[in-house]
Symmetry: none
Subunit: 155 residues, 2 copies
DNA sequence: CTTTCTCTGACTAATTCTGACTATAATTAT
DNA sequence: ATAATTATAGTCAGAATTAGTCAGAGAAAG
């Protein structure tokens, strides 16, 4: 089930690099030309195979001296609850629901009281006031999911 | 903060100087010729890496005997810097500027590494993607100001 | 045969680098 | 003094250099 297509080969190549260093910094165009594919295929490989669910964090920079950095992170054990919460959020989240989630996180010792306060400030109704309730709830959902995804691993 | 582009190298060089003295006074043309770049590149480096969001204050003088002075400020010594930051944010904040501020907050022990990671996740470009750059920057500004306000009332 | 996965390329976005032009301060000449 | 010259630094727009997105074509799997 592996190795039949070029994406699998690139995946394997990158994972071998990461196995050595826990973290690699590549040039998209270099990798692309090395495997003789278009640059955007590197994005495809990363998007489909180096997700946070699989334990990878990806950062990049454009312009001169640009790069794509892939880092392997250690996923924590308790993450079933994170998946549950993320599924429950869907594509909208009210402030009330957000507070409930934050409360759950504190109770499960996934975040501290101080961290909870900061997250609360972020998803607060005034902070996200944007004149459109649906959009506001969507942004709040995005923020909450980003935070939950971050809690999947220890930095 | 890598070394593939000359701006990063100049940034590193200047920061090493400042690490020794907290404050440094340079000649733009000297630095430029030392790294063999046009003088205006020094302005670029300063404008992108030595802003108040990064925790630096820059002064300069033109004409004979001119100079550029870069000083690292400490937030603990200058609580009003929080106000300066909030003012600088105004009604828009890019991801880059946000990262700079968060980094400065960590360096000044106003937030922990973990808290910084959570805030970073909140103001991330993907998180706040809403199809409208202006709105995205406005929401990011709101979040950042909410965090800074929270820090002010704390401690 | 239908659905899902892979691959491609045109278009977009972000960042760095460069140089021509502008602004200001100190020094020198009149 | 005043004007001219010299010595700095600042601004800005555009070129150069990366990476990202997205929709559709093609291939593989069910």
């Amino acid at each position: 089930m592996q190795g039949k297509n070029i994406s699998d080969i690139i995946e394997k190549y990158l994972k071998e690099m990461i196995a050595e260093d826990e973290r690699v910094e590549i040039s998209r165009s270099d990798i692309a030309s090395h495997f003789d594919v278009v640059p955007s295929q590197i994005n495809y490989v990363i998007k489909t195979r180096f997700t946070i669910q699989n334990g990878y964090v990806v950062e990049s920079k454009r312009g001169g001296g640009g790069y794509i950095r892939i880092e392997k992170v250690k996923l924590l054990d308790n993450i079933d609850i994170l998946d549950t919460l993320i599924n429950a959020i869907g594509d909208g989240l009210t402030q009330r629901e957000g507070k409930a989630i934050i409360n759950t996180l504190v109770l499960n010792n996934l975040i501290t009281d101080n961290e909870a306060d900061l997250v609360l400030a972020s998803i607060n109704k005034q902070t996200l006031a944007v004149g459109n309730k649906l959009l506001e709830n969507e942004i709040r959902a995005n923020i909450m999911v980003a935070i939950l995804d971050h809690l999947r691993y220890k930095s």
